[in-house]
Amino acid sequence: MTELNIADPTNTSVPVLSVSGLTKKFPGVLALDDVSIEVRSGEVLAIIGENGAGKSTLIKMLAGVYKPDGGTIAINGEVQNYASPADALKAGTKVVFQEIALIPEFTVAENIFLESHLITRIGTIDWPEIRRRARDIFERAGFALDPDAKVGDLSISQQQLVEISRALAHDAKLVIMDEPTSSLTPLEVRHLFEVIERLKSLGIAIIYVSHKLEEIFEISDRCTILRDGKWISTQPTSSHTNDSLIKDMVGRSIDDLFPRSERKFGDTVVQVDGLYTHNRLDNISFNVRAGEVLGFFGLMGAGRTELAKAIVGYDPISAGSIKINGNLLSPHSTIKSKSLGLGLLSEDRKEEGLMMDANVTRNMTLSALQKFTRGGFVNAAAETKTAQSFVDRFRIKLAKLGQPIRTLSGGNQQKVLLSRWLMYGLEVIVLDEPTRGIDVGAKTEIFALIDELASQGLAVILMTSEMPELLGLSDRICVLAEGKITATFETSNVTQEEILDAAIQ
């Protein structure tokens, strides 16, 4: 299956999809800037890029959800002008979105013919015909589906097959898959890839959007890289290496992305023993030394965020102990953990970090307020001065300190929240997905900042689901699966495969 029939560049037939100069503006951003791609019959084109690269904007325009501000979309050479997703479907484009849009209470066959119920002569729905046609499709595509099963009872993987069947029922010429493997087990991913091969053999053109590079290498014939809304390259996938893909995606090589200064490890600062929580964590024990970055990797639902919140006293624990420099975290509260020098940067900036309407200074000084307080009164001048020094030091982009934090970009907001703890002065910082929803440039700066903090002797506990971030920043790696630590590695001698294996068990 890894041997791919690369689309012949000399093939002169009309491409199934040909996009030219596609542009989309949103207030303040050019989400997609003059992007042109082609996909041919029986070909898989991968589209990759970081968050915010413009992948989903592109897909939504191909699906008729957004109207382009410039450029054209042509199917089989005919320029399309979609007014709605229904038009795109009629023209032969079917998108299988990450979140599957089926009606769980209806049967498989009913869902497949949702838009085009077949009618008998007396005006009722022709159920036998619908079932027959559904079975036809399954046979053609090689799906093991029962037309009469309720969709709600199916696995995510089977629901994807129903979506693909819908595409076949509508004679789709182009199937777009948006992060199709994000909630699949490895075995289900295998099955999906077999389905994709089958679709190719039926002459269907496929756009495959993913940020999992190994999948791209396995399934795609060519790959288009987007960055900051711009087209960077389209090449046969086989001409790429892992490094060249990343380099095109982030605009610099991986070594520049993760600067690593000399780290000297001090004494053990964090000691977690036999930690249990009510619903997730199961006998978690680990140590972190001063100046060390301990990375926790895990798939969705492995317990990363639960662990982060339990360690800092935010969520209750049912057993176990947390010690900072030998001092027990007891009572189990954030007030106590803060006094021991332990704090969390939450994964959810909006819900658990920012005071959206408050200004930058207020947001930044929340944890360290006591430093500016004498006899209950806050010294606003000292507060502003300190806030300004952090703005300068971390190059936080803003017009003035008094502006509401919601007007800052995600990266700058994250720097403000990091400053909130650094201003207080921690011994241990827990970072939960510190670069989620942040553009590439700001990511690099935050990586550099984390490295700098570690080199200054801070103990860092990093929760992440991003492999490059994990490998680039951590000194040691603990892998979480279903609330347990399944493996611990030294970063210097571990491979991605070993980490993934431990995460999946």
Partner: protein, 326 residues
Amino acid sequence: MPATESIKQITNPIKKILTSEVGFLVLSLLALIIGISSFSEQFLSAPNAVAILHQSSLVLIVAIGMTVLLISGEVDISVGANLAFSSCVVMAVINQTDSIALGALAGIAFGTSVGFINAFVTTVLKVNSLIGTIAMMMMLKGGVFLFTREAIQNHHQLPLFPKIATGFVLGIPVPALIASIVAIIGWVIMTRTKAGRLFLATGANQKATRLSGYSPERVKFAAFLLTGALTGLAAVILASLINAGQPTAGGGFELIVIAAVLLGGTSLMGGRGTILGTIFGVLILKIVDNGIILLRLNQDYQIIFPGIVLILALYMDQKRRGTTND
């Protein structure tokens, strides 16, 4: 979008005043004063000004506490019932002890303990404060009749007691003086102290406040206690004003207080609001009240009007914020 917005604000100063919270309130207040005085000569007279200040004082004292409480993300519906009960306690204790000081202390202590129970129900039992304090209101409204069937008169006829409400110091009515002091302290707390920051932070984002190493429960507890204590203080003035403890007093009082606070720009969702806004909110509502009487309109408008004003105020707030928020 932010760029075009700032251009609009520079090129349109009128819009800027209208969109700034306090500016809009000042303009409304001025419009009311000009409007009412053009129909009634009495309006700008000294006795009428004193009457307005008297009327505003009770509401303002409690509204300061309510502002802090709403900013922290909670609400207290029981302040009206608490006011009535506390005023009866004040009078009963004065009758028992012959001491105005003890009576006043007892009233404030009673009001504070109601605040304590509200705080406990909300922060420890985790009952939604809207529901919890409605329940408290019901208990107080029933309870006060177990305490006294009818108004408690000033048995000892202490002449000094009514003076609290009707007296003047430096030409200012005593209740207005007390309310001003309360408002100034409230303003200092909210703008200058760490406590003020924590009230705002708790209401703006409770989870973030907890993660930053504070206890949102303690912050809310303090806000409930403050509201209860100030209600007790207002009850002392009320009892002095009518020279009695009146179990049926305070009907609809909580609505006027909350209306004034919201009118002043405090968010029902917490995290946003100013003492200055509340002062204007109270003045606007009370001047409207006064105008209705002076213009000899049906007095039922006194409760209808705040309802209309409230919807208008919240609508304006939505619009103002809608331009920047989503």
